[in-house]
Symmetry: C2
Subunit: 394 residues, 2 copies
Amino acid sequence: MSDRAMGELAPPERLLLGPGPANIHPRVHLALAAPLLGHLDPAFLAIMDDTVTLLRQAFRTQNQLTIPISGTGSAGMEAALCNVLEPGDTIVIGVNGYFGERMSDMASRYGAKVVRVEAPWGTALQPELFEAALRQQASVKVVAVVHAETSTGVLQPLREIAALAKAKGALFLVDTVTSLGGADVRCDDWGIDICYSGTQKCIGAPPGLAPLTLSPQALAVLRARKTKVANWYLDLTLLDKYWGSDRVYHHTAPISMIYSLREALCITLEEGLDARHGRHHRSAAMLRAGLQGMGIQPFVPDSIRANPLTTVVIPAGVDDLAVRKALLNDFSIEIGGGLGPLRGKVWRVGLMGYNSTPRSVFTFLSALEQLLPRHGFKVSPGSGLAAAQHALAT
Amino acid sequence: MSDRAMGELAPPERLLLGPGPANIHPRVHLALAAPLLGHLDPAFLAIMDDTVTLLRQAFRTQNQLTIPISGTGSAGMEAALCNVLEPGDTIVIGVNGYFGERMSDMASRYGAKVVRVEAPWGTALQPELFEAALRQQASVKVVAVVHAETSTGVLQPLREIAALAKAKGALFLVDTVTSLGGADVRCDDWGIDICYSGTQKCIGAPPGLAPLTLSPQALAVLRARKTKVANWYLDLTLLDKYWGSDRVYHHTAPISMIYSLREALCITLEEGLDARHGRHHRSAAMLRAGLQGMGIQPFVPDSIRANPLTTVVIPAGVDDLAVRKALLNDFSIEIGGGLGPLRGKVWRVGLMGYNSTPRSVFTFLSALEQLLPRHGFKVSPGSGLAAAQHALAT
């Protein structure tokens, strides 16, 4: 053996308070490092079965077809769309942020006719506008919505839109990348037909997998397709045969990532979904109170806020990049900048999964209080912490 | 916290001698467990750059566009095809095994006209047949070949086919999932335009990523597309902007998997590619000698064997599944069964990356010598080991 081919791999320890990934529980770190198994080993098949069982609980569903897609959340989005859409189908998509835009782009690549129901970034989608849009279409295959829009921190009302989709005979498709594990998601109760998420946010695993579930109605649409799914890797007619009892080889499952997801889901369900959602609610409330105490305003009102991701307006005159760089370099804390039209206008502060704690909030507020005065924004010392502590106590 | 949501994650320690995944170096286990970073953190961007630099060395290329796709080897296959094919394009595909078939399926989903150049499973593709097939086509966009066919253990001649593709003005696309890191692959010298691999075989990382490289010619074809890439997640026009200097967000990179790939590539290149290929050659020779010493015949002749994966004919009267089960349960050794028409007819024994060692060969032969007599196949004691030891010594 010669010298090292490269410097040693030594990623710094960060507090990850951006839009994801978040930090993960030490048990999940250990799971990643567990011995590898073959993808058809009975011991691995049992781990797959466990993972499916746990995912059903996380999605609050009985759906048979519930699996992790072997790609990141965006692969989940594409799998959700490409399996039910055929060329010429109409899909009605709510667009009030970056990820609604992304859905529109993807759906059009599969030859669907995309009808957009828009709302300004930072506001929630309006069920009435869906009603109007649906009325104008002869037939609609899918109605699609991003639950927690990661670009704005807005949570959409799902039940009303679900009812409208159902009345039109359309499937209801929901992106829960940023909500699952951090905000209530009830696939069966709310009538969600297709739901996908990511692993690196409130579920508490590293990025790399996309949990996905299909209702019996969605499965029937998949089985009645006239054309092959245009995307081989994400073709659920094939994936279902590997994850189902047939165990027909499709692709080599990402073993270590599945380990990490199983462990993260165990931790999530040991805490309990309701308790976990409550924790995300309290952390977000503390953070918002603390920031307001410092004179920084939230970008969206409380009534439509997504607890896992808080967006705040960057105070006038403050240099976005300079503050984020200082947070990273001086305190090893990551927060997110704005996407698209919100670039330079908002910060996105994630309190997700393992990181959704008073400790994270205090650490972040303390660092920000120290930094902001150096960047032209006056903060009365301790004002943020005091407000956050007050929120924690009440 | 309540009780555990599930039994503890405790995968048994296996010797993975199937078609992949193989076992990984302890340094790679540690890399998987390293602290997470955000996907736009400068510290992670540096790790991405390192990974690209190392991948170029592994592929023996100067290609600018060289990245790991965030999916398994099959996603690499699909990325290779969908980015250069447009509806109506002609692709000539060598089919002499399961993965050539898979390429044909994928290419047809993207609307390409597929011309198959076939050879019986267990034989190598014949350049003359490519010559004849190319002569019959007015214009060919891509010629595609699987270097080491994982279903048969056959290595294809690449240089002759590359020259034919080039003469026809077609791009040359090669699957090196099972060869990269275990057999010589020279993208630039041999005129390979599009090359992809997997991480879980001779490269020595867990499954989950697909290294991919495109020559300037392939990149020009990508940039001259008339239609958007039909597959959003694998769209290299978008991925290139994230992995290139623009750093435009596309999807959240699978951080831990990238760590593991970087570390595995470091180990690969510290050993040196030539030394590593020599090791794979010697291990395969030992294994074949040992099996022949026991009276078990290889499925393919030495002249076309792929060293990372040895296929052998299951002796008449021996129960395929019973032996593989006993290997797994009594000795914790995994080998692979046959795929498709070779089911029940061959075993596939992988000696890949970290596992391509005399120790693996001795362990496997010893276990097999003990098992086979119980399953109706007489073995003269020590005959396999003696032959393997002799091969090691010469």
